[in-house]
């Protein structure tokens, strides 16, 4: 400082003055000390007791000054608690606006203190912890200052931290840009508010603020309302928008509905749908019957299948005659939105997209099939799993059809999973799912079919209807009740659990529980998991019932199933689940502790909650059971998936553990939390694990790597190519052990999942956790014990597509820009044809197949010889599919192949288009385009606003009408020639059933 030269060298004189008798002298000393405290605090600190006694002297009129001085000295001594309490004593002398380290530190301390007090008060729900009013005053002063200065983000952060919702509201309302502020607020509340209850309060407040705004952001409000689980609010908003005169509002409503559907909260969506009021009583009846149509159509076994959309359209047009124009419009829109909310529209569109854009590489499968030893059943089924995963949701089962004889080697449980695999392939085929599976389903007459394929078929139905099982529930229940074969029960339980995911239906619960109480190991395990699926996230007290039974039964399998089931019930409940978690993690039985790990993982999914991480790490290193340790590490992946960058760092040490189980867990944890990100650190962590000395660690690492790299192109990370070659090497290598071979086969399945148009995503675009996906991965990670659970991974697949829709929910022709080199995001190049493909397979084919299969095989042989496309054989029903396949492939390729030597730096994509997550950042909408999106989202379902509504629309996602063959029966028959209905109902026809057993 400037006066340093003339400054005193010691505070001794001033300190001595404090002992003077005259108050004026004391005051003089104090005020001088106060201004020099920054330099002389070490000297003053020895005299603190004197100053303290001055503060405590009631008669001394400058007590506050003394307190301030003591506070500063304590601050320099690092005694922040004491410092704070004296700063409070200093009252108004403590100036919050002063810009000094002392004031900043003490303020931060004060806010921390206040926040922790408020939090404690809120958590214990007792008012006894009275907050010091002086403390409150300081914090309020600070908050007011921030609000006045326009430092809204700080004010919001503090207000949230201190649980001062009143101030939060004030800060939000007074900010310049309310929308931005609210979004900030939402981000903050999601990432920093750990208590679920409190977060709800914050969101509720935000919704309130939103609704007061002159131009509310309905998209956001509805997302919040969904988080708050308030279907009424959403229904009211949707109704308002639907009734609006403006076409755009209806588009917005559809967009909201699609966004909500993306979060996969089945129970909530159903409640919203049921609450949407019908325009008039008589119309409500028709609309009701309209939306019920698919249900009834499916529950009746032989009823020809009809398209929902068609039925709705026709019935409405008839009933709307006696309604006024307004209600008619509303009714029409209502029907559409109901379709969206039930998930049918999006599932249908997704399936069309996956089907039309299917680019799976059959050659990979062929290579796998040939290199896998025939007698090795593990690899055999792994190949079947890989096929199912590769074609998940695409409805393309060419590979199976081509290799029926090979397929027939699957016996017993392998047959179970082979049949179930069809469910994965046809995932989302809601309308025709049952007819597809019909040949394998248990027949009423009880004869014939193997219980394994019947059980598998029921499981497959569940997979098809996962999370949208309204139509199939009843059938599955009946199948469950009428059988007492444990394999069928097993399949039915899994299927029912999947279909009724999270609905908490009491009747179903009873049915499954009855199976559980038969105490059969096979059926019981599935029942345990199924009960968990049914009750996902309900935290119902039925969990304790299950826990009690888990203690009672002798079967490890049942205990394990129940443990996972119980864990599923507390999904997302965070602190609410703590008692149950405590109970499970303290159990004697390692299997229940293992369930406890899952409970921790699911209750705190994606929260990055420190307490949960700490607990998991503790179990990962201290538990005596390897299973528990493995699961504890794996569970970290679930807790951290919202923050994938963190995971590799946290588990990196564990991945070098001496214990192979821990290493395996670390691999899967990275796989789960970094799934689909292609994160470089994750890949670096997994690479060494792929050449681990222990076989199952290699397996885990391969699978995890595939999960991480899904949809990452070789151009963006060269290690993808290396990995692909490594997989091929492992599969082809004769000396490689079965475990890693299986891992490699599954990995190649996952890497090319869903015809390469899906990725694994645990968070929706609005940062909600996708319940189905998380549950799917959780159950998938159980494949360690039970291979058929591998199929659960398909629940986590979400299509990476941009699907633009017009007001009729059809996909119009619409182009937009991907501002990067096409090669960066293109499909992996097809593998090259190996030299000898047909040499081995034919002779064996004839031996073990039935006459029918033989005939088919020979027909195929003939086709092969004539050099035609292999899939063209499959009868007339498939003919259409093939045409389309070829046509679409051409279309897609044309963009990719156009790039000649100098690669263009952008790419024009045509709706609907594949947009992979890494690409989303660089998607741009063209300005002169005819359509503009309602919400500028680069992927998912986006409603498009038509700027030139009078021009005729050109629809994509429709196929040439000529391809509609007789096999598409119901749907084409119902088509009344109205061009607008074309896109949706043009769904791939159900392929013919095939059999692969004698």
């Amino acid at each position: 400082m400037a006066a340093a030269a003339t400054m005193v060298s010691s505070a001794g004189g001033l300190l001595a003055m404090l002992n003077e008798n005259h108050p004026a002298l004391k005051l003089h000393a104090l005020s001088n000390l106060n201004s020099f405290v920054d330099y002389f605090w070490p000297e003053i600190s020895t005299s603190v007791p004197i100053i303290e006694s001055l503060y405590e002297d009631e008669e001394f009129d400058q007590r506050q000054l003394a307190a301030l001085l003591v506070s500063k000295v304590f601050y320099y001594l690092g005694e922040l608690n004491d410092s704070l309490s004296y700063a409070l004593g200093a009252g108004p002398l403590f100036d919050v606006s002063e810009d000094s380290d002392y004031v900043h530190t003490i303020l931060a301390k004060a806010i921390d203190e206040y926040a922790s007090l408020k939090t404690k008060a809120a958590e214990t729900k007792v008012e006894s912890t009275k907050v010091d009013s002086r403390l409150e005053a300081i914090v309020e002063r600070m908050l007011d200052k921030c609000i006045v200065d326009g430092k809204n983000q700080q004010a919001i952060g503090m207000a949230i931290e201190c649980r001062r919702l009143d101030k939060l509201e004030e800060a939000v309302i007074k900010s310049d840009n309310i929308h931005a502020t609210i979004n900030y607020c939402i981000d903050v509340s999601h990432s920093f508010v750990n208590r679920r209850e409190y977060r709800r309060e914050v969101l509720r407040l935000l919704v309130k603020v939103y609704q007061q705004l002159p131009s509310p952001d309905y998209l956001s409000i509805c997302q919040r309302l969904m988080f708050l689980d308030e279907p009424e609010g959403v229904a009211i908003i949707l109704e308002k928008l639907l009734r609006s005169e403006v076409e755009d509002d209806a588009l917005l409503a559809f967009q909201i509905a699609f966004d909500l559907v993306e979060n996969e909260h089945q129970a909530f969506l159903l409640r919203v749908r049921d609450r949407l009021p019908s325009p008039k009583p008589q119309l409500s009846a028709t609309a009701q019957s309209g939306s019920n149509q698919p249900d009834s159509a499916q529950s009746g076994s032989a009823v020809p299948l009809q398209d929902v959309q068609m039925t709705d359209d026709t019935q409405e047009s008839s009933s709307s005659l006696n309604l006024d124009q307004h209600d008619e419009v509303y009714a029409e829109r209502l029907a559409k939105i109901r379709g969206i909310l039930s998930g049918e529209t999006s599932i249908q569109l997704t399936m069309q997209f996956l089907y039309s854009h299917n680019k799976s590489d059959l050659l990979i499968l062929k290579t796998i099939k040939q290199s896998v030893e025939v007698r090795n059943s593990v690899c055999h089924s792994a190949t079947i799993y890989a096929n199912a995963i590769m074609h998940a949701g695409t409805t393309v089962d060419t590979f199976l059809r081509e290799n029926l004889d090979w397929l027939s080697r699957a016996t017993n449980w392998a047959k179970f999973s082979a049949t179930a695999g069809l469910g994965v392939i046809h995932r989302g085929h809601l309308q025709q799912g049952r007819s597809l599976m019909a040949p394998y389903l248990p027949q009423g007459g009880g004869g014939g079919g193997s219980p394994y394929s019947e059980g598998g078929a029921l499981y497959a139905l569940g997979l098809i209807h996962a999370n949208h099982g309204e139509g199939i529930k009843q059938f599955l229940r009946d199948s469950l009740r009428t059988t007492n074969v444990e394999v069928i029960q097993h399949g039915a339980c899994l299927g029912l659990g999947l279909a009724a995911l999270g609905t908490a239906d009491d009747d179903i619960f009873e049915d499954i529980k009855n199976v559980l109480y038969t105490d059969s190991a096979v059926a019981g395990e599935a029942a345990g998991i199924s009960l968990g699926l049914l009750m996902v996230g309900t935290a119902s007290e039925k969990a304790s019932e299950l826990l009690a039974y888990a203690h009672e039964t002798q079967h490890e399998k049942i205990i394990r199933g129940l443990a996972l089931g119980i864990a599923l019930t507390v999904y997302g409940r965070e602190e609410e689940a703590d008692t149950l978690i405590e109970q499970m993690t303290r159990d004697q039985d390692p299997i229940l502790r293992y369930g406890g790990m899952y409970a921790l993982a699911l209750a705190y999914r994606g929260t990055s909650n420190n307490k949960a991480i700490r607990q998991l790490l503790h179990f990962a290193v201290s538990d005596v059971s390897d299973d528990v340790r493995r699961t504890a590490v794996l569970a970290l992946g679930f807790v951290l998936y919202s923050d994938p960058e963190q995971t590799p760092r946290i588990v990196s040490l564990l991945s070098e553990s001496y214990n192979p189980h821990v290493r395996y867990g670390a691999a899967l944890a990275v796989g789960i939390s970094c799934a689909g990100t292609g994160l470089s650190e994750a890949i670096s962590l997994l690479e060494p694990l792929m050449s681990d000395v222990v076989d199952f660690v290699r397996q885990g690492a391969l699978i995890a790597m595939a999960m991480v790299m899904v949809q990452t192109s070789e151009a963006s990370d060269s290690r993808v190519g290396t990995f692909r070659r490594q997989l091929e090497k492992i599969i082809v290598d004769k000396h490689e052990d079965t475990m890693s071979k299986m891992g490699a086969i599954l990995a190649s399945g996952i890497l090319d999942a869903g015809g390469r148009n899906v990725t694994i995503k645990l968070l929706s675009k609005s940062k909600h956790d996708k319940i189905t996906a998380v549950v799917g991965l959780a159950v998938f990670s159980q494949f360690w014990y039970w291979y058929p659970l591998i199929y659960f991974v398909s629940l986590a697949f979400s299509p990476t597509a941009f699907i633009g829709l017009n007001h009729n929910l059809k996909a119009p022709k619409f182009e937009f820009l991907s501002h990067a080199k096409p090669s960066l995001f293109e499909y992996p190049k097809p593998t090259t044809v190996p030299t000898t493909t047909t040499s081995v397979k034919l002779p064996t084919a004839v031996l073990s197949t039935s006459a029918r299969a033989k005939a088919r095989a020979s027909k195929k042989e003939a086709e092969k010889a004539s050099g035609a496309e292999p899939s063209a054989v499959l009868g007339s029903g498939k003919g259409k599919a093939v045409d389309k396949d070829g046509g679409d492939a051409m279309q897609v390729d044309s963009t990719a192949e156009k790039k000649a030597e100098p690669e263009p730096c952008f790419e024009i994509l045509t709706n609907p288009a594949r947009v992979i997550p890494a690409q989303e950042k660089i998607i741009k909408f063209l300005e002169e385009s005819r359509y503009i999106p309602v919400k500028s989202a680069p992927s998912g379902f986006v409603l498009l606003k038509d700027l030139r509504p009078h021009e005729p629309e050109q629809l994509s996602l429709t196929d040439a009408p000529s391809s509609t063959t007789s096999n598409a029966g119901g749907s084409s028959a119902g088509q009344p020639g109205s061009a607008s209905a074309m896109a949706v109902d043009d769904e791939p026809a159900p392929p013919q059933p095939f059999e692969y057993t004698s």
Binding site: A3, T6, M7, V8, S9, S10, A11, G12, G13, L14, L15, A16, M17, N19, E20, N21, H22, A24, L25, H28, N32, F36, V621, S622, L653, E656, S657, Y658
Partner: protein, 267 residues
């Protein structure tokens, strides 16, 4: 500002007059008022603002505090001495460059050294000593204190006591009297370490008491843990030395081993 200086000077004159008259009560009262008045001068420590009269003010203030120190000796108030000395000190140290040296500086510094010696605060004594310039050690007042300290440390207590006769300043007498008691405490402390017991006669001589009566009073007041029995003074009870703490080696070894095991398990 000038009026203030005049006011202070006038009051200081009155203070000096009373001081001459040895009317110490009036002095004390006046001094308190003076100090309050001094707080209003911005040129004084710790602010040292450059005011037109700063030299005059500083000199005056220094003078007042010098008197305050001497007054505290006269009224035999050690606390006041310490207080006033510390307030005076900045005038000697920090204001040295801007003021002509004061005649009273070394006697007062010497007094302070003596005080520290009396209060047996040897560490502070040396700190103060180090702060003095080397030539200051030649000053008789300082030299006196330094020599006393040396004798004190050597245990030449008779030299200490005889030094009373050679005080360089009349004010020193007060502290020299007090020093005798400090010396006695030292001796008592040494003897209880050295002997288990001493005859009363020896103890009396050793502790420089003139009568047994004084000795027993001293024991009663200051050394309650001593015991007089059969014409002897026993020191044992104060010797109950606590055994030095044992190192919990076994426990430490066990802990370290368990840490090692834990580490093994984690990685």
């Amino acid at each position: 500002m000038d009026s203030k200086i005049t006011e202070v000077s006038q009051m200081f004159d009155r203070f000096q007059a009373s001081f001459m008259r040895k009317d110490y009560d009036t002095c004390d009262r006046l001094l308190s008022q003076l100090k309050v008045l001094l707080t209003e001068f911005k040129s004084l420590p710790p602010l040292f603002q450059e005011t037109p009269n700063n030299i005059r003010e500083l000199t005056l203030a220094r003078h007042i505090y010098e008197y305050a120190v001497i007054l505290s000796v006269k009224i035999e108030d050690q606390d006041a001495f310490e207080r006033d000395f510390f307030q005076l000190k900045p005038y000697y140290t920090d204001a040295r460059s801007r003021l002509p040296p004061s005649a009273e500086e070394y006697p007062i510094l010497g007094l302070n050294l003596l005080r520290l010696l009396v209060q047996n605060r040897i560490a502070e004594f040396h700190t103060e000593l180090e702060l003095l310039p080397p030539n200051a050690l030649e000053n008789p007042c300082i030299k006196h204190a330094v020599e006393l300290e040396q004798s004190f440390m050597e245990g030449a207590y008779n030299c200490v006591l005889s030094a009373r006769q050679t005080v360089p300043h009349e004010t020193y007498v007060y502290f020299m009297d007090l020093l005798a008691k400090t010396v006695r405490d030292e001796i008592a402390g040494c003897s209880e370490k050295t002997y288990d017991s001493l005859s009363i006669k020896d103890a009396r001589q050793m502790l420089l008491f003139s009568s047994d009566q004084e000795l027993s009073e001293y024991i009663k007041e200051e050394r309650t843990e001593w015991e007089i029995k059969n014409g002897f003074v026993f020191f044992q009870r104060s010797k109950e030395s606590t055994p030095c703490k044992e190192i919990p080696s076994l426990q430490l070894i066990n802990q370290t081993l368990s840490y090692a095991r834990e580490l093994e398990r984690i990685v």
